[in-house]
Symmetry: none
Subunit: 214 residues, 4 copies
DNA sequence: AATGAATGAGATTTCATTCAT
DNA sequence: TATGAATGAAATCTCATTCAT
């Protein structure tokens, strides 16, 4: 199974896609992430996918629907692991220490980001301009994730492992550090040599010291 | 002097702009930041500026030239304070402690971001797609800024105020925290109530503890 | 038997239509009469008929063939009663007086129009644009009907019941009045309260006085 | 001044039209009336007008707006003469007898129809399908005209010149006859030899006898 | 017979840019 | 300098029709 097919499988698990539909989606992802949604023409996508232009519109009523159909399932994937893995483990106490939780969280996100990079780029680019996406993102991803992050931080604050500070501020600082790593790693300098384990450890330690009881 | 005029003055200090040109630029900034460069039509800008379509092309040969003429001066402004104020002060030792430097750096950036927010949005959106802008950004902003940040970190590491760690990693962690604050403050939740001084202090302390000698 | 089935039976007496074909025809009649032939898409008809797009083209080679297959049988129906009932009766003298003939004629037409209203709308709309239909209409409907009307008028003129005037002019005036009633009744104001018998009588009397010997 | 220019002048009296706009309108009228609105493509209009396709959309935001801009002024023209000439004359009593009024009314409409024939065809074709036009027609043309016709009939009924009968029915019968003549004359058989004066007189007499006191 | 994915020609519409005034 | 009509290339989208299943 090719790398592209893995991506498709991950994003569109259950959906039955025709061969042409798959080609359209892959072509769209490539073009959207390279040139941006607005600057990509449907004729270009059709050509890249080796498909007639009309075929695109048989499957997606509008160009925007194509965009949404690509980005929306990503959002589900992004919260998935949080809900399924991380938090349950935290609340069921398999992570005695914050550090363990942090390491797992970063690692988890890291895997997805690596695979979905182009789609994530599209999502980040288009969220400010597509109200439909923004709303989905805020309601499904941001709120759910954030709520749980706050819970987890509270949990560790109660255990005395984290400094007393408004949970919102603590969350902001921790999340910034994590995303700072991921963005540097996969978006700004994907081509540098990275000792991932070490950098993750540094990030974890940074957060730990920054937020721990002094 | 209206807020818009302040923006123009800050961005186009010495340039002599006709009245129409000012209106065009303000209209373009508004539309570009709301809908994106590619999704904004010149006719829309003309209408918003109260100007004939042709007039835009009298001043800017192409639509892209208009974009560049807006974003390029921002870049100059962004490095300006670094070079002129912060670093000189550091190298001339007016900031004895890292914290003082950090506070000043955040404050400085904060002021500019507040004023230039729409233009910054445009810049961030378009850098990935406009090679011209990307190059300018990397060479003029990123490199220069980064070089100096590294210098400063080294300086404080040598003073023993900062933990031993590759300067690049330290820089990444510090910068992430600062940008995390700025982005949360001005982009994600501009409408929340913010106690700026307190949050800046928290961010500074977070970085300090995260990076200080243990 | 539903109203739709009555319509189909009347239009396609002997033809054997499959279930799908019936649905297609009813859907086409509805859409064509509501939005016009050119503005109706085959996909829309297919959806309304609950049928695959391809199925339409299995039964009708082209969209126009579908139109013709609907309108053509109507034309046969329209001349039918004229030939079969009215005129024979006139020529066989069961209608001693013009008035009786007129009453019967209007009543006859009235029934058909009521049932076939949507198809008649389609016919009237498309005759100007479809040479095929126009020719059929002129040769089969208009000429035959008109010839017989002229005969009948001549008959009553000879009896001295109608004023001397070119039969063509007399025909025009009588036909205008009849169609004026039918159009008002069924197309312009179908929703008003109509005392049909009274209005038909008024129309008959109007024609009688207008055309009778003075 | 060519015949076309007369048409334009009559329809668009005060509007300032560019040369290209005039060509577009004339081409549109020709095509719409020949093939119908829906079956006419804008590219066809552009070609016939000797204009770039974009030019059409510079002046009319949509194809439908072009249609409306052609048909709407016709409606004004159609009621114009009624209001300005006929009725005032009736109510100011220059027409002592119904016949004189009828003759004038037919004559008046006749002139306009002759000139505006293609536009009238378009109007009649599209009124059933364009709610915008239908509404305009009903509110501006039908209602105003009808109200005044009713007034006039009442006036002559009161004078004892017309039979007692619901004014609505009387109106229907009279109008049918008039339109029957106009439609026969200009739409069905424009190419036959017509002795207009005689046929108008016949129509008038027909209505008179049909509706007069017996 | 029936389906519905696929097509490609063409329809409507948009838009950056030009140019005569 | 400013205008805005005009352009034509290209963008999005529609649709009648075909064809493999």
């Amino acid at each position: 199974m090719s790398e592209d097919e893995v991506l498709l499988q991950q994003l569109f698990e259950d959906d039955k896609l025709t061969e042409k539909q798959k080609k359209i989606i892959l072509a769209a992802i490539e073009s959207f992430s390279e040139k941006g949604y607005a600057a990509t023409s449907t004729s270009e996508i059709a050509k890249k996918a080796g498909v007639a232009e009309g075929t695109i519109f048989r499957h997606y009523k509008t160009k925007k629907e194509l965009l949404v159909s690509i980005v929306a399932p990503l959002m589900a994937k992004l919260i998935g692991p949080f809900i399924v893995n991380d938090f349950h483990k935290v609340l069921d106490h398999p992570y005695e220490h914050v550090e363990d939780f942090l390491r797992a969280a970063i690692q988890n996100r890291s895997d997805i980001i690596k695979k979905m990079l182009p789609v994530i780029k599209i999502m980040m680019q288009e969220i400010p301009f597509q109200p439909e996406l923004r709303e989905q993102f805020l309601e499904q991803v941001a709120r759910k994730t954030f709520d749980r992050i706050l819970l987890v931080i509270k949990e560790y604050q109660d255990k005395g492992q984290l400094i007393e500070m408004p949970t919102l501020s603590a969350a902001r600082l921790a999340i910034s550090s994590i995303f700072g790593y991921l963005i540097s790693r996969y978006i700004f300098f994907p081509d540098s040599e990275w000792d991932d384990e070490l950098e993750i450890e540094r990030t974890v330690q940074f957060i730990m010291h920054g937020l721990s009881q002094r």
